[in-house]
């Protein structure tokens, strides 16, 4: 019964996480030009700042980059075309998230692989501990006769 309750709690937790992810990731069906340009600017690194996006930076260069983004979106260019313009000038360094293709793809693969590796390691360790526990359990190791003798000796001592 208690085990079922545990599984139920984990199920609820996963469901809540999934709902939160969907709500957080939800985008309006028709984002405004300002929303679109902010979304593109948020994906670009400010070239004169330390780890700041073009959307968040107050530098003049970032402001001019935002102006170009807005202008190009208004002209009908896609976010990918605008990002490609900056990548052609600054390289993929300008993208805050590394591209998933090529060598940079390792950056995307590494976290899930490390997570999987961690879970695997944990599983192996838990199984190993359980097996050791069984091996060192006197009853499981066939030490019942020995324990019986110890008990008898103890009883004799007490008497």
């Amino acid at each position: 019964m208690r085990r079922w309750l545990g599984w139920l709690a984990i199920g609820w937790l996963l469901l809540l996480c999934a709902v939160a992810l969907v709500l957080y990731g939800a985008t309006p069906a028709h984002p405004s030009l300002a929303d679109q340009s902010r979304a593109v600017a948020a994906q670009l690194r400010c070239p004169v700042c330390q780890g700041e996006s073009v959307a968040d930076s107050s530098s003049a260069l970032a402001a001019n980059m935002r102006r170009i983004i807005r202008h190009d979106l208004a002209r009908g260019q896609s976010p990918d075309q605008i990002k490609a313009y900056f990548v052609a000038r600054y390289g993929t360094w300008i993208l805050l998230a590394p591209p998933s293709a090529g060598l940079s793809g390792v950056a995307w693969l590494a976290p899930p692989l490390l997570l999987l590796g961690g879970v695997g390691l944990l599983l192996v360790l838990v199984l190993d501990w359980r097996a050791r526990g069984r091996r060192t359990d006197p009853a499981a190791a066939g030490a019942e006769a020995y324990l019986e003798r110890v008990r008898a000796e103890l009883a004799a001592e007490i008497e």
Binding site: P47, V48, A60, L61, N64, M65, R67, I68, V87, A88, R89, Y90, G91, W93
Partner: protein, 172 residues
């Protein structure tokens, strides 16, 4: 023994990765424009002339992004002036004033000299077209209009001579 082996298996690749990472300068970003046509521009100089990159076709161009407020630009200016005098008409020197005040830029040139065109860059469009980040940055463009080298940071006589001689095909 097995534990030591595992520690080695984990530690050695980590140390190798860190060693490689620390050897790499995170600010040294290779320009994707190298060996590509230099982005064209038509800009106005501080004294009101119209200057385009195209008008220098047939001559190597040293394109320097600078500003009067940039301390490193003050340090490299004498080297640029020296190279400009030394190479004469064989090489075109062009300065693009980056995010600067017009009177400050004029005062800078009056005080420090420099007879090559100094261009204004409204909206930093040309700087963005060249992928300029932190100035000074200098682009070495060959006679056919192809970017051959980018120096992010200060140029010195050695860099200027090496790159200009490359553009001139070894002729000094």
């Amino acid at each position: 023994m097995r534990r030591a082996l595992w520690a080695l298996v984990v530690a050695v690749p980590l140390i190798v990765l860190l060693a490689l990472g620390f050897r790499h300068d995170p600010n040294a970003i290779a320009s994707p424009l190298i060996n590509k046509p230099a982005p064209a521009f038509v800009l106005h100089s501080l004294d009101g002339r119209t200057v385009s990159l195209h008008q220098f076709r047939g001559r190597p161009v040293v394109l320097n992004f600078w500003a009067s407020w940039c301390v490193t630009c003050i340090a490299e200016h004498p080297y640029l002036a020296q190279a400009w005098r030394s190479y004469g008409a064989r090489v075109a020197f062009v300065g693009v004033d980056y995010q600067d005040n017009l009177s400050d830029a004029r005062h800078f040139l009056q005080r420090r000299g420099g007879g090559w065109p100094a261009l204004r860059d409204p909206g930093q469009q040309t700087a963005l077209n060249y992928g300029v980040g932190k100035i000074p940055e200098t682009y070495f463009i060959d006679a056919s209009g192809v970017v051959r080298y980018k120096e992010a940071g200060m140029v010195d006589p050695h860099i200027l001579d090496t790159q200009i001689n490359r553009l001139l095909g070894g002729r000094r």
